[in-house]
Amino acid sequence: MSNDLERGTVGDRPASGPTTSYVVTHRTAYRYAVPVSDAYTMTCLLPRDRSIQRVLGASLDVRPEPNEYDDRTDVFGNRVVQVGVHRRHDEFEVVATSRVEVRPQPVPSTPLTWEDVAGRCTALQGARAIRVGPYRAVTPSSMPADGGAELDELASAVFTPGRPIVESLRALSHLIFAEFSFDPTATDWATPLDDVLRHRRGVCQDFAHLAIAACRSRGLAAAYISGYIETDPPPGEVKSIGADASHAWCSVWIPGENEAGDVGREWFDLDPTNDQVPPHRHVTVGWGRDYSDVAPVRGVVIGPNSTQSMEVSVDVRRIE
């Protein structure tokens, strides 16, 4: 499929190493104070395969029973489902259940500096230019409106002259982890990058956008990844179901050792929220240029204007 921007990573040369299996349940429920007559919902909840992940099964449950259900692949190769409920209802629930098998991501042993990578990335031609180019795009979420100087300062501290690419990315992850505080109250679903830079706080989505912005400002291609992370229960407690949440991190294009043949394994993930490079215990759903390309659930309801409440719960369970 020519739309799959990371076509090469699927199955070409699977990463080796021990696999871990997870069952993920992601439930989103809306309740409307006044019933709505018509609702359209777009979801990006069903995980996709990649070189470090195999999807063993995935399904979507929608209540009430939808009048329309359209399952397709978007331009990034993600699985998106559009559903329509065209009758009165005051509750809407969508539950995604998936079983995946993941492997640890190998660390590229490339000696290339970040400048080399950026140079090759910009000079790409042919099918790879079409696949990788989009992730150099400057989108509203990956570019501060007026905080260009602060972003540049951050990028300069990390991307020092002649620094190897993997080391640079590790430094980037670490800097964000060390200097920005995790604060779920600081931002919402559409906080501009300027606020994150100014207040030095945010959530995983903001940190992923920040890392992406820093990479793209230096000519590197970076993708926003939407997915989940397995969390440990607090010491001495049993892990409670639904306590997990959606997670976001990013992935940076690094050319394979043998450019002529191997176009697999060209992406390397970093999770600045947890300073994991590469991340482990992560389940990928999909990727795009930024959050808005892969928002898990969004939609439109038609009815009298009223209040709506939303409830989200995620459960990531390891299968022994």
Partner: protein, 749 residues
């Protein structure tokens, strides 16, 4: 008298006369004024600045036949080149693969629609561009340059037709040598038929509604093409098909001639803005056979950053050098062209001046090929204007000279294969019916308030503050009360005379606001249903704008009130004599009769109160009853029937029960019943019959309890509300469901 090469008479007196006529004709089309600051419409949307006013230069711009031959080919080539670019950008992306276009730049553009990537293979749509427009300018030494491409939802063909229709009425015989524009309508119809493989498709013009700056053109074109003019709330996607919600149910739509930007078509698409679109419309486009003209995604060619690349990219792709080159720099027209733009004779502010001009040419693609309209929209610029920004608009009609053999236009148009697909009289979008309902109510209510104002304005001013309150004033108060926030006007004084004067002032001020509101509602509602109203009606509405402004500052200006009443009578005359009888008319007429019944009952209640008032002497009562009759426009009827002093029994008979008085409550109830049956609202006829029975039972005497009359009013209101909520409920607007924010449990490392 001077005659210049355009062949048009440049005598200043003649030009001034022509300008005056042109202005009047444009106002009649609803095009000459700014519709602004109007109250909220019945569907809850407020109306902001709806259109920029424009004036039309009486001097046309002329292009010779030879010169047009070149332009025709140049525009055609440019459109073909842009079509190839779209094919590539959303298809193979050879330009990206070969390094001509930086993918980062392309993917950074919000105008590059991701949902359109690869879509050409998925949908049954024959082309990207069905309509295309390009702004061009000519240098003093005769070289043409393109300044802006319009590929998303180009506007202007309708304006060109409108301007030509207007100028055609003032131009002399010299117009006969210019090529006609009207054959373009046939080409357009064919172009929309040709977007889709299906035969005889149903086409609708998709507008953003009255708030859209080019709304006048949308409505003009829809009428001229014979298509429904639809807005987001009129449409719905079911089973992957697009449907129009009409009074008769859902009707399938096959082609949308969209006048909205592609990024606002479907709120389900990533990075869409606003809620003016139709959820799921892209799904219908991809898998339900719906065609969009132009296709979703064509707006990318208008991205200001990318636009600089098209000429080179197009040349790489097609191997052909563009004839019309695009100049994309910012600045004035002269700096953009790199040398002075040509100046043309212009009649501006009653003077003959020479100004630069930008011309917008239009091209339309059918299966037969590309047709360029032999004419254009001229826009006169000030020397310092940036030609890409909207400027205070002085339009210029553009005449292409015909060779004698071309006088009969030779458009490559097939005869229509299929007769018009739909009876537009019965196929009425629910929203349009709702607007006609609101329009009629507002018209009737404006008339009642204006008439009561007229009576108040005519009553002797020295009587203020003496004796019992003025009946006309009380009636006016009853007619305006609930609409206006009286608290905003201020509390009356303690002092007796002052209090009476202030009470009068308060009521008059609120009546003024009420008139302003109702006339404003008429304008707002009518603007969105222009295709149902005649051109003459447009002229009356245009004049109402001026009258409304006059009354805003002086609500009791007798002359302005008389003008208003004349205009409202003209409007209602046109409504009954010039609007086709169909569902839309019955809804409107229902609203009119309903308001009229309420007004008659309100008058009757005021009459009873006056007649039963022990503080009034007989002369005072007689004057009061006369005011009530005058306010109901029934005084003459009374005098014709009863050659006597005014008596309460006769007044009540005339206002309530006399079916021969078209303004009586009884006659209005009969009208309501007729309309309800025509609409097919049979649930309502029983309710109306009960109200009618109780109305008939009202005694014609001074002992009637006014509350009995007022309870009839309340029942009428609920009957009308029931009709509105069951038959007319305009589909409410979509609201966005917030996506689930990503909130994670924090650092777990």
């Amino acid at each position: 008298m001077t005659v210049n090469p355009t062949g048009v008479d440049h005598d200043p007196v003649r030009l001034a006369e022509r300008q005056a006529t042109v202005d009047r004709l444009l106002i009649a089309e609803g095009a000459g004024h700014v519709v602004h600051d109007l109250p909220v419409r019945s569907d809850g949307r407020s109306v902001a600045l709806a259109s920029r006013p424009w004036r039309l230069d009486p001097i046309p711009y002329r292009i010779s036949a030879e010169e047009f031959l070149w332009l025709d080919e140049a525009v055609r080539r440019r459109m073909a080149m842009l079509e190839s670019l779209l094919d590539d950008l959303y298809g193979d992306r050879r330009l990206v693969a070969e390094g001509v276009i930086d993918p980062a730049l392309l993917w950074s553009s919000p105008r590059y629609r991701l949902a359109a990537v690869g879509a050409a293979e998925r949908r049954e749509q024959k082309r990207w561009l069905s309509v295309y427009a390009v702004d061009v300018a000519r240098t003093v030494d005769g070289v043409w340059f393109a300044i802006t491409d319009h590929t998303d939802a180009p506007s202007g063909i309708g304006y060109a037709l409108l301007d030509r229709a207007v100028l055609g009425q003032v131009a002399g015989p010299e117009l006969a040598s210019a090529r006609r524009l009207s054959p373009m309508l046939r080409v357009l119809r064919q172009a929309f038929d040709d977007t889709t493989p299906s035969v005889g498709p149903r086409v609708a013009v998709f507008s953003g509604g009255i708030d859209h700056p080019a709304y006048i053109e949308h409505s003009y074109l829809a009428t001229a093409l014979g298509y429904n003019l639809v807005e987001g709330p009129d449409l719905v996607v079911r089973d992957r098909h697009l449907w129009l919600q009409t009074l008769g149910g859902l009707e399938a739509v096959d082609v949308l001639y969209r006048r909205l930007s592609d990024w606002s078509l479907d709120p389900m698409e990533t990075n869409t803005t606003g809620s003016s679109g139709v959820p799921g419309v892209l799904l219908a486009n991809e898998s339900g056979g719906l065609a969009l003209a132009n296709a979703h995604g064509t707006g990318v060619l208008q991205d200001p950053v990318l636009a600089r690349l098209w000429d080179r990219a197009g040349q790489e792709l097609t191997g052909d050098e563009p004839w019309l080159r695009l100049r994309r720099d910012d600045g004035t027209i002269d700096s953009i062209l790199g040398r002075p733009a040509e100046r043309v004779d212009t009649w501006f502010d009653d003077r003959l001046v020479e100004q630069p001009v930008v011309l917008r040419f239009h091209a339309v693609a059918t299966d037969e090929g590309i047709t360029v309209m032999p004419g254009a929209n001229g826009r006169v610029l000030a020397v310092e204007d940036d030609p890409r920004l909207p400027s205070p608009c002085l339009a210029k009609d553009v005449w292409v000279s015909a060779e004698p053999s071309e006088l009969v236009p030779s458009f490559p148009v097939r005869e229509a294969l299929v007769a018009p697909q739909v009876d537009l009289i019965t196929s009425v979008p629910t929203r349009a019916a709702d607007s006609l309902y609101g329009l009629s109510r507002a018209a009737e209510r404006s008339e009642a308030v204006a008439r009561a104002c007229r009576v108040v304005a005519g009553s002797p001013i020295d009587a203020i503050g003496e004796g019992p309150p003025d009946v006309a004033l009380q009636l006016l108060d009853a007619l305006t009360g609930p609409d206006v926030d009286l608290a905003a006007v201020g509390a009356p004084d303690d002092d007796g005379t002052r209090a009476a004067a202030t009470e009068r002032e308060t009521i008059v001020v609120s009546a003024g606001q009420s008139l302003d509101y109702h006339v404003g509602s008429m304008l707002a509602e009518s603007a969105s249903v222009r295709e149902f109203l005649s051109t003459t009606t447009g002229r009356v509405l245009g004049e109402l704008v001026t009258t409304r402004e006059r009354l805003t500052s002086r609500p009791l200006d007798v002359d302005a009130l008389d003008v208003l009443l004349t205009q409202l009578s003209a409007f209602s005359g046109l409504w009954s004599e010039s609007v086709v009888r169909g569902p839309a008319w019955y809804f409107g007429d229902f609203a009119r009769r309903y308001e009229r019944a309420v007004v008659a009952l309100t008058g009757a209640a005021a009459a009873v109160r006056c007649a039963a008032d022990p503080l009034r002497d007989p002369g005072d009562r007689r004057r009061g009853l006369e005011s009530v009759l005058a306010a109901n426009d029934s005084l003459v009827a009374y005098r014709r029937r009863h050659r006597s002093d005014v008596e309460i029994q006769a007044v009540l008979s005339l206002l309530l029960h006399d079916d021969r008085n078209p303004r009586s409550a009884g006659a209005s109830m009969a009208g309501l019943d007729r309309n309800a049956r025509s609409i097919g609202w049979f649930d309502g006829t029983d309710v109306l019959a009960e109200i009618r029975r109780d109305l008939d039972a009202v005694e014609e005497s001074v002992d009637v309890d006014p509350a009995e009359l007022e309870s009839l009013i309340t029942r009428l209101h609920s009957a009308a509300a029931a009709l509105h909520s069951t038959e007319l409920m305009a589909p409410p607007h979509p609201m966005l469901v917030r996506s689930s924010a990503v909130v994670d449990p924090g650092a777990v490392a």
